[in-house]
Symmetry: none
Subunit: 226 residues, 2 copies
DNA sequence: AGCCTAACCAATTGTTGATTGGTTTCGCAA
DNA sequence: TTGCGAAACCAATCAACAATTGGTTAGGCT
């Protein structure tokens, strides 16, 4: 009995002496056996006790680490897409993206703005709807990048992934191409210009107006299809 | 001159003949040279033309692929948390949550409002900071639920998960409890009342003011710790 | 019965060599 | 001089294999 807790005591002493920071890895069990002069079975009992106590965590092939096991959380895009519909996705875009655009106006670098213009140029000269949508996606994501906030960018990507998953079935005529007077061209231009001029309100409003038109188009396209 | 475009023509013919699906990889350049009977330089010119046109994309060590370059998407909360910091998270909350609150004012049901009040009551009577934070989390999430938009709720959950993962080191005195005049109490009340009265602007502003105070507290707490 | 030791298992990591797009260099010819 | 082609080289990536590591089992000893 005294032996059983002896291993734990030794291990605790070893850890206290080193005073290792959180998430640091401690030597493999086979080495710790030698260091502490304990058998591997006893050592593992002590480790199990400390692990169940939340003081450390272990994983095969990785090792043993100080602190709490890192939580593995996913926001499963497929799960979200299964529960929602295009209306909700569009509404979320209308609420989120203008805010991102405002932030982009504040933080965009010259490089960001150059890339925005390039995407704008590409979308204007797209030969097919497919190409246009590529450029359009790229422009919207560049806006999100220009906000220079990792979390906002991640949220945008999630939203975007959901959007793509939801509007999956929607297809446009592959032969046709965007008309030269497509509403997005002018709207994109206003958006990029507002960002370039550091006009937060202007950028937010431009994005809002652009997405409102996209939403309106979704409705008409849907009505036309029925 | 005819040669220069000849490579592109041959490449296009090759691709048209195979009719490869999107995201499929085509042979390495050195092989394509032999297949098409073109020099590598000319082939690369043709590939560059098609790449700038958005028809394919290339990457060292990977190869050349049909279609648009896949955007690197985040959905792993741990990955986001590793790349960001409390400042960015707080900023994202300031941009997102007020918009959610506005939507909640529009869509909240009587049941939602009842639950909001219950969370508010619980947070006001919390015995420890731990309990308070549970109630506070619950209130904020109920607001997101009250927006009745699956996508917005999912984005909120993602943001929340990132927040929890990022504020790792932050510790509050476990003995102490929230003071009776804690700023959040009054702010929560204003928020819930605005939602109840269907006041979108009021709800958005209340949430914005509340989070601004939270942000300010973060700063002072940080300063006090140093 | 309890323990140590040794061996084995499966998940993970590390390493090495080959592959691949990108670039440079040199020779040649118009 | 200019442009093209062939070859060599570079760095990022991938693929396959060996080594590491926590988890488990079997046998022998006290």
């Amino acid at each position: 009995m005294d032996q059983g807790q002896g291993a734990l005591t030794q291990l605790r002493a070893y850890l206290a002496q080193r005073d290792l920071p959180a998430n640091s890895r401690l030597p493999p069990e086979r080495e710790l056996c030698d260091i502490l002069g304990v058998s591997r079975g006893e050592l593992r009992k002590a480790l199990a006790a400390m692990e169940s106590n939340g003081e450390l965590w272990r994983h095969v092939g990785k090792g043993t680490f100080i602190g709490a096991r890192p939580t593995k959380e996913y926001s499963d895009v497929a799960a979200i897409a299964a529960l929602t519909n295009p209306r909700e996705v569009m509404q979320a875009r209308l609420l989120i993206e203008p805010q991102i655009a405002r932030e982009a106006a504040l933080n965009a670098t010259a490089g960001d703005i150059a890339e925005l213009k390039q995407s704008m140029f590409a979308s204007r000269h797209a030969q097919t709807w497919r190409q246009y949508e590529n450029s359009d996606n790229r422009l919207h994501r560049t806006v999100a990048e220009a906000a220079h906030n990792t979390v906002l960018l991640a949220l945008f990507d999630t939203l975007n992934a959901v959007r793509r998953a939801v509007v999956w079935g929607r297809l446009r005529d592959k032969i046709d191409r965007p008309p030269p007077d497509h509403h997005s061209f002018k709207e994109h231009e206003l958006l990029v210009r507002a960002i370039e001029e550091r006009d937060m309100d202007g950028a937010g409003q431009a994005m809002l107006r652009h997405l409102s038109h996209v939403q309106a188009n979704l409705l008409t396209a849907r009505q036309a299809a029925e």
